[in-house]
Amino acid sequence: MDDKRTEIRRIIKDTKSLPTLPGVIAKLGSMAENNAISVHEMARVVSSDQVLSAKVLRLVNSAFYGFSGRVSTVSNALILLGVNVVKSLAISSSIFEIMEKNVVGLWEHSMGVAVAANVMAKRLKLPEPEETSTAALLHDIGKVIIKIKLQEDFDHLTTLISNKGLMMIEAERELLETDHAEIGEWLAQTWLLPEKLIEPIACHHNVEKSVVHQSKTAVVHVADVLIKASGFGFSGDDLVPMIQPVAWNRLGLTEAILESVIEEVEDKLVEVKNFSLEIQSSDEPKT
């Protein structure tokens, strides 16, 4: 009998695709029909969605195209794959059959963290802000796996969280012997994503563990905390974790810098909320 970790790794090896919000697919579908839509607009919608972004990155980094773990942003993937390929990938994606609060919640949370990471990376003048933003977008992709492929466990987790007041990650470690960070890491590795995306996904709850991409990991970690503090979206629990001192020091943060980052992020979140409402209504049946 497989232990839990082995079982999960096996599930991940067999995972070729994940579902996303019906609204995103609907929006891309209608964009695809309109030939005047620019590459830029497509990129915007695809890069707002963690599942589609992961899918696109997986394809461009696959053996078929031969770019072996080198492409880390959706916009570069678009240049190399071409609009047609990305369109086909997107509109052939599967969707969540049942829409509930935490599906949209996680989607909003991921987008929020991506925005916060972008703001921070630029404010701190770190290199590769777009790549950092992509890593931030994908940081909780492990949670999608748990929800889709480990339904029963997911329900147990929800119960644990509400009964014991645990954080999602604590409940995961108790029940699954692993957590969404590691699961996300396994998925990203299986899909041959670049290391600069894998490390932040793997270490966003344990910044000390990061080796090569320490700044990116630190940014994703802090961005995650900020979005939880903000209450924007829903990532499984309503609890703000500590900002790990390693991350704070690595980035040379000060309270002043953080406060101004928070201001800028909160402003941008209004637009993200706008976009989210737009996407959710894209799915409404039209007569």
């Binding site: 939880k228 503090a229 903000s230 703000v240 500590m242 402003d267 209004v270 637009e271 706008n274």
Partner: protein, 109 residues
Amino acid sequence: MQNIPITLAAPGMIMAKEIKASDDPASMTVCGKGVKLSESLIDRLRQMGIQSLFVEGHPIALEGETTLEEMLAALDKRFIRVAGDPLMVKIKGMYVRHIQRSMGAADGR
């Protein structure tokens, strides 16, 4: 003041912050602070691609938002696990200030 999506802007609201043509601080001002919004101005801003704007007071009840007290209580609840850490307490303070500002507490409501 409150940051609202342009789709919720209505005539009569007053601009709390100016809008510039682009992110570049040296670019032209498109709509100044203190300007009263009209139907045609809102249309023009929307056509320019403006997504959101700051208006005085707190005219809109955004989804999920409630009273100042409720928002601060929710914030407290979120921070409960880290309430003993000095840095996290300071950060909570930053969010408290932000909520107060956006709820127009400084403008007296």
